[in-house]
Amino acid sequence: MSYARPNFRHPKQPENDAGFTRRDYEGAISTLCAGCGHDSTTNAIIQACFELNLEPHRVVKISGIGCSSKTPAYFLSRSHGFNSVHGRMPSIATGANMANRDLLYIGISGDGDTASIGMGQFAHALRRNLNLNYICMNNGCYGLTKGQDSATADRGSAGKKGVPNPYESIDLCELAIELGASYVARGFSGDKKQLVPLLKGAMAHNGLAFIDVISPCVTFNNTASSTKSYHYVREHIETTNTFDFVPLQREILTHYDEGTSQEVTMHDGSIIHLHKVDSSKDLTSRQKAVNNLEKEKEKGRFLTGLLYVNPEIDETHDLINSTLRPLNTLTEEDLCPGSEILDRINSAFR
């Protein structure tokens, strides 16, 4: 039985520009079921962090409860982490983010965590456009408690128990677009080629980036009758577009024909190039984004890829006009204005 991965790595493992190898972004060995989609998502996160040259100690990972929320143990073991209670990831993330805006926040949640017990928290993090990468590993069931249908299970879909789900499902992406998230995407754990750039785009984005990752539960929800099985998803997947993520300070080497691509410049100067875009699918328009989702849903397809992005929306710190510096760098001098100023403030109220 393997409780640990061997420490040997490929001798020619490349280093990124920050001097780290992929191994520096790894965590402990996963204890999830063999074949779990979450492990692939975890690996996509590792890959994205590696490719973005992030410094692990500048990253915070926060989660709630569930199979998905176990995964922060499996990546970035040299980062900060907080495993909170059920559905409460957004409030912990909000607190941490308010205290130190300089770090990169990765919130990990699942469909139970997000669409049921944590729905209230989810909604308010969205409307505040908190600068958080909200990753929902969505398998349509409660894997940790033996696979009961979750709120994202499609109507009529049946897991291992074989009973079709009678209720309407919640489309987290539509909700996110409607409630104010500024970067909304859907990925599939079985397609890292798409998922890694989506994650990179999210991490470069300033504001709430929500990524719904369809991440099959092999143990309870990978049946022929389930709409969240590897097979079903592969058969019914539709993509908005393929895209390149060009990080800041990288030379743009690809040439894009005019009219065939849409360019979105992120807050940090990185650029997202969307290929083969037709104008009806303008991803910076909320209305069109929701229409796109609904159209594909009518056809029984999952729309994946970047669904909506608007880098112009202010994030929470801008909205509340908070200090530009992390709280731990504020000195007594910064925090205590002195009696003279206090007197002036007090007199203004007289």
Binding site: S2, P6, F8, H10, S40, G190, V218, Y230, H231
Partner: protein
Amino acid sequence: MKPTDIDNPEYFHKVIDCQFACPAHTQVPEYIRLISQGKYDEAYAINWQSNVFPGILGRICDRPCEPACRRTRVEETPVAICRLKRVAADNKNQATNFTPEVPEKKNGKKIGLIGGGPASLTVARDLLSLGYEIDLYDDQSRAGGFVRTQVPSFRLPEKVLDEEIDRILDMGVNTFFDTYVDNIKQITDKGYDAIFVGTGAPRGRDLPDLPGRIDGDESIFIGIEWLAAVLYKHVTSTPQKVLVLGGGNTAMDCCRMARRLGGEDVQVFVRSPRSDMKASPWEIEDAEEEGVPMIDNHSPLEFVIKDGKLTGMNFEKMTATYDNKGHRTLVPTGDPPVFIPCDLVLLAVGQQNAFPWITSESGIEMNERGLPIVDKITHQSTVANIFFGGDAAFGPQNVITAVAHGHQAAISIDLFCQGKSLDNRPAPSTSLISQKLDMHDWLYDSDVSEDKRSAVPTVDKVKSLHDRLLEVELGYGRKTGHKEAMRCLNCDMQTVFDYSTCIECESCVDVCPVSCINFTENGDEEDLRDRLLAPADNRDQSLYVSPVLPTGRVMVKDENVCLHCGLCAERCPTASWEMMKFTYNSAQAGKK
């Protein structure tokens, strides 16, 4: 690329780098695993079956397996395969009888062996158990060949040598010792069904044209002859200052022996740069450890004789230049000659084959290098019933190669005596057995040890330099042996992929510590190697490619640095990966 044909036994055989590199294809991971389980007898038996001389080879083997060891590709040092062989030999039960059954009733075929070294003894062992009658001729008084006369006792004690050689002789070899065959006709006239020649490369090269060679003859010796003279106690001491010329293993044996016989100031002189020395690195280290400096880039000019006595040697300083093809030429630096005083010179500048006893009327044709024309596979000479093996066949190599030759020659002789075609050789016997015990449990220990290679303990230097019979290396004890055995990566535990059940969840890709598994679009080999997750630039190592999967991709695994840790199989939800033990037994004489 086309899907890999894992039914071809050579595919998985090649993954077991050590076994593949071993000329006799010893099942290395299997015997190492048995050592880790304390099953020394079984480990010894596996060795004995394939390489015939585990105790001897566990000390003096050239170890082609070790540079091939997968471990060298993930860390600095290979598993101490050779020294583990010795652990098996040292710790086996003394009461266990490893001799196979020899049929009472002979098959009526009689084979003559000329030369009593490892190649001939291997032929004898393989054929005796099939009912052949064996006559062995050797000019020495005991069997063993160069392993006996040339390898000093401080590396290979006589007891170890005798045990393994006597085991074969006791199977019923008719020995004719102290019998120098001066014409092969003596043997061919005896009417043997087949004859095997394993007479080695018995002539040490001399430097006859070097000035002073004749006048200094009393103090100048051919290394291998001198070592034999030491063994037979014709030489019991050396003067203080000794020069050894040559950079091979014989030179290392000579200088270390000279240190034991009174040589205080012993130096090795080599024409070429040190990096080009032919001696095994560990033998050079051992010699240096005993205070013998290696002086490279010095070419001998003359023996300096004063009053009819050798007083030293003059050397010319050399430097190596390389042309754009990497071809080396040694050119003099132009510095004045260097005089090195000495009282004795040992020449270890190479060995040659010598067949003065093979006349043209025997029908054995020789090539332009003076070597018999021998088939590379069958070992048959131009005379149908005469076979060659060991150094006698293709020039000086090493003991394990001689053993491999012996096996092949025995197969040929057996086929020949039955009137069958020599080209119709028996196939290796192989098996592929699942190791699955439970969800995450295997029949083998899949943990990957991160321990560094253990050093072999040695006896006190002062003590060993006073006794030429005292073995320098003490060998690993059981505990260290176990620790070293655990370093083995179990390369015979194959990762076998069943594409028909794979759901492409890529859990294997995610968990693989060395990133060797990929799911990608197919392409030709160059293209694929370029696109894999981790650099796949070791062309000696295969890519394992599956048939096309439902998404149109293929699974491609670069075998190069796979740790055989089994994690891909543990993380696979559909058991599309499975760890299976691949056993590859090279064919031996008598196998169908």
